[in-house]
């Protein structure tokens, strides 16, 4: 995993798999060859992680709150290890995302899988984002102050 290109591609598909809904991923997978078989190394298991924030982006870190996270690690028949951390408690999705992470690292089959599964998911997520933005845009109000009251 020292290849910087592979690292950034992997960051992208892990982020997409974490955000995409499971039925959407399954629908894409139904259109391609079955994934290599795998066995679980850890999980899927659900736990809490403390999310930290910084006021204004550069203040002292504070604990924003805990969130539920499900993680899974699998090892597939081609000797590749895949990890997944997803929000919520959808264990089958965590396992599916981990199996996909492993399969996508394959130098031969990976790039095709990226085109046929990850890219459409990215488009679907972007479209959903745009829809939400458009809805919000319709009700946007610009406030401005004509004069400041000073006492």
């Amino acid at each position: 995993m020292s290849n910087p290109d592979l690292i950034s591609r992997r960051q992208r598909w892990m982020a997409i798999l974490a955000r995409a809904e499971r039925p959407l991923i399954e629908a894409r997978l139904a259109t391609v060859d079955p994934l290599p078989s795998h066995r679980r190394l850890r999980g899927p298991e659900t736990g809490l992680v403390m999310v930290q924030g910084r006021a204004g982006g550069n203040g002292a870190p504070f604990n924003l709150g805990e969130m539920t996270v499900t993680r899974c690690t699998v090892h597939n028949e081609h000797g590749l290890t895949g990890h997944a951390y997803i929000a919520g408690r959808d264990a089958p999705k965590a396992e599916l995302a981990a199996a996909l992470d492993a399969a996508l690292q394959d130098p031969d089959a990976g790039p095709r899988l990226e085109r046929t599964v990850i890219d459409p998911l990215a488009d679907a997520l972007a479209a959903a984002d745009d829809r939400l933005r458009a809805e919000a845009e319709a009700t946007r109000v610009d406030f401005f102050t004509l004069a400041t009251m000073r006492s």
């Binding site: 066995r39 190394l41 850890r42 298991e45 690690t73 090892h75 000797g79 290890t81």
Partner: protein, 190 residues
């Protein structure tokens, strides 16, 4: 990277039942105990692997000797354990040959529980040189005969025992079985 093997399949329940095995072995020095869950993770024996996953976590430091180093990634992944900067500073040592006990951290008088715990993987727990155990947890002297201990083990252990309440605790693991020699036990030849 040797990260191709699972750890505990049911981490909470299996670690608890292995902890029970460790507790009963520690309270009955020298008794050969079967680890309640065996984990295949070579070069660690099943009992060694289970003891490590039960006892070590991100709050302790671990030292592995050269033959066991291939297991480092596996342990770091499943236990989140931190590598000890040196043998003398390690809270846990998992080794295939016993290091000189005097070189390891035996705890302080204020905090004797911080001393090192040695997990020694040996070829067998029987058929070696017989040793007699006395002390707390033993109604009558018990005889053990593990393989793979150094020739001057009895003298080294005597020195370790004299440090009480400081001192090292030792566990011997072979395949799926292990026995414990807590610092409170006295060991004689034959």
């Amino acid at each position: 990277m040797t990260l191709d093997r699972p750890g505990f399949l049911d981490p909470v329940a299996e670690a608890q039942s292995c902890f029970r095995s460790v507790l009963s072995a520690m309270s009955r020095p020298g008794s050969i105990t079967a680890m309640s869950h065996a984990i295949a993770a070579p070069p660690l024996d099943p009992a060694t692997a289970a003891v490590l996953l039960t006892l070590v976590d991100a709050d302790v430091t671990l030292w592995l000797d050269e033959p066991l180093m291939p297991s480092w990634d596996w342990l770091a992944f499943h236990a989140g354990v931190v590598r000890a900067p040196s043998r003398a500073e390690a809270a846990f040592l998992c080794v295939t040959a016993l290091p000189p006990l005097a070189e390891l951290f035996a705890g302080s008088d204020a905090a004797p529980e911080t001393s090192a715990t040695i997990i020694l993987q040996v070829p067998g727990l029987t058929d070696g040189r017989p040793l007699t155990l006395y002390g707390p947890g033993l109604e009558a002297p018990a005889v053990i005969a593990p393989l793979g201990l150094p020739d001057d083990f009895v003298a080294q252990w005597e020195a370790n025992h004299r440090l009480f309440p400081r001192g090292l605790d030792l566990m011997l693991c072979a395949r799926g079985n292990f026995l414990a020699l807590p610092r409170s036990v006295r060991i004689g030849e034959g």
